[in-house]
């Protein structure tokens, strides 16, 4: 990260953000708009994601589909957010 930056105090780069949310409840939105909410177990450089007790949300509403553990392939991931 660059040494010269006026507001380095509140900076979080992606890898710090990811290691901070391992184990907590996250929502993963795919390119097509479907979201999966569950506890983040692990994530890698391709943004492949493993979560458990996962629920599927479509257009913001729960679709009723639930998965125990889930592996999501990274190329479909638009964003991952902390719930």
């Amino acid at each position: 990260m660059s040494e010269v930056s006026s507001n380095s105090s509140i900076k979080t780069d992606p890898s710090t953000f990811l290691s901070g949310i391992i184990g907590s409840k996250v929502s993963v939105k795919l390119n097509n708009g479907v979201s999966y909410v569950g506890n983040l177990q692990s994530i890698d450089g391709f943004m492949n994601i493993v979560m458990d007790t996962t629920a599927e949300f479509i257009g913001g509403a729960a679709s009723g589909t639930k998965y125990g553990d889930v592996f999501i392939r990274g190329n479909n991931v638009l964003y991952i957010s902390k719930v």
Binding site: N32, V34, I58
Partner: protein, 166 residues
């Protein structure tokens, strides 16, 4: 129980050249080199059918075709589908350099039989065929957009991209 090994290396008898080509048997180049200077047909991701002589290629399967003809197949008059070809239109296109990732498939054309399937079809002017094809493709894109929306409401992804019309 290992699968029967297809190619046992005859020890010593095959000369250096075979061993050399053997080492590159399983590469993109090896799959294409056999069709060089031969007439091939090419199906592109946008649905185009090209027929020409393959002159050169590289390891990304970028291809150069010479004396290329583009041919459009259409169903019977008025039908919107492309399932039962009844008409075709073609035009001369000259030299083509096609980027590998746009190729769906490439086949070596058997020159003595290549026109047999055309005898059954009605030849129509290329411009007319192209206009009709563009209209059919536009309709298909609209229908697929609708399908994408309705599948999405059930969390399913319709694997359709506008540029893939093969």
């Amino acid at each position: 129980m290992s699968a029967p090994n297809s190619r046992s290396i005859s020890d010593g008898s095959s000369n250096a050249e075979d061993l050399y080509l053997e080492a590159y048997a399983f590469t993109t180049a090896a799959a294409l080199v056999g069709s060089v200077d031969r007439k091939i047909f090419l199906l592109l991701r946008d649905g185009r059918n090209l027929f020409g002589v393959l002159r050169t290629f590289d390891q990304f399967a970028n291809l150069v075709l010479q004396d290329t003809t583009e041919r459009i197949y259409l169903d019977a008059e008025g039908s919107k589908s492309l399932e039962k070809p009844a008409r075709f239109g073609e035009t001369y296109r000259g030299v083509f350099m096609v980027r590998g990732e746009n190729v769906v498939m490439m086949g070596a054309v058997d020159i003595d039989h290549e026109d047999e399937h055309l005898e059954v079809l009605q030849n129509i002017p290329f411009e007319a065929a192209e206009a009709e094809l563009k209209a059919i493709q536009r309709e298909r894109v609209q229908a697929e957009k609708q399908k994408t929306k309705s599948l999405l409401s059930r969390g399913l992804i319709n694997d359709f991209t506008k540029s893939d019309l093969y």
